[in-house]
Symmetry: C2
Subunit: 209 residues, 2 copies
């Protein structure tokens, strides 16, 4: 009897932890519900709101105008209040912000692989979703309501930002989206306008952080 | 005595699994040894060889020449045989490859956050390493030795590529690296030439997959 209890208890612990170690999420945060890939607008909003970082691309000042990607954290809003527009906290000590002040053309690329929900497929497999938001990267006036929204959005998901060094002069930037490129299944990119994306219904069940 | 064994066994299982669920790696692959961040060349090679995907940036044909980032898998060699140069398996059905055939300027961006070794820091925190390799993205002659090396490198780390549809005409591309931008600690990007990077000593202990 004791052996039976011992075995069941071990199996219980192992299964619980294997699930989460394969998924790659800390144990205490439940996975949000992944929308149907055919619902392109809701799916795109889910992917953006669930993600905390991506690669922000700008045209480099130096390096012969090469497209320069940089790892950045971002947020589209406080949990349950995401609007789909990514906000960033950048310093011109870093090339990305100084590039954008000269040439605002930009894109933000996010992979579902980072969420741990790709079910062991290859990151380049179309069933592992990816999205690139293309547009203009803009510095916001620090006193504006938009910057205030951005700071709330960013600090809710990236609390350590509040203590980043004042001397680095971090400021709020946002990406004004003009085009969306998203692949979440076989058959090529999903048709999706910016308007459809911004107006997508996103239920509270879809967003947790 | 039985209770003591039970408790110790449970703690053993929990600690083992919590470690890996927080780290985010499958249980059976041990973490490779992370080099000292001051050893910029070895650290950069470790980050590239440990990673399986990144964001590959090109200048878009459409979309007003915006820098376009796309999620791609890559490989710099078979395990223990990485050379530091990323190879890709791309189709011109996808914008990245068709962009590169017109304008080869490109960069590949990789975040250590994807490896699960950032110890709970924010992805934008400098102690969570990131690297961008800047250069020219080139299509290889499918019959060349270089393409053969590329295929071995890619298929070793991304076995499902072997069965990707022939009709999509996937071909091997590589990034000829001209500049390296890497941040792995506070204090700005690490000085690192391409030559230092390519010639870095990388021990077998540093690379597992």
């Amino acid at each position: 009897m004791a052996v039976k209890v011992f075995v069941y208890w071990s199996v219980f612990l192992v299964l619980g932890f294997v699930h989460d170690s394969v998924i790659g999420r800390p144990l205490l945060i439940p996975n949000a519900r992944r929308p149907n890939p055919d619902d392109a607008a809701s799916f795109a909003r889910w992917l953006v709101s669930q993600s905390s970082w991506g690669v922000l691309n700008t045209i480099s000042n130096e390096w012969g105008g090469a497209p320069f990607g940089n790892v950045v954290s971002f947020s589209d809003g406080e949990p349950d209040k995401g609007k789909g527009i990514p906000y960033f906290y950048l310093t011109t000590l870093d090339p990305t912000a100084s590039n954008a002040l000269k040439d605002p053309r930009s894109s933000l690329t996010i992979s579902e692989y980072s969420l741990g929900t790709c079910d062991k497929t290859d990151p380049e497999n179309p069933s592992c979703a990816k999205i690139t938001l293309i547009g203009k990267l803009k510095l916001l006036d620090g006193k504006s309501k938009d910057a205030e929204f951005g700071r709330s959005a960013l600090f809710a998901k990236h609390p350590e930002m509040k203590s980043w060094p004042p001397g680095h002069n971090f400021e709020v930037y946002k990406l004004n989206i003009e085009k969306i490129f998203m692949i979440n299944w076989f058959g090529g990119p999903k048709p999706l306008t910016v308007e459809q994306y911004l107006q997508a219904k996103v239920s509270a069940e879809d967003i947790t952080f």
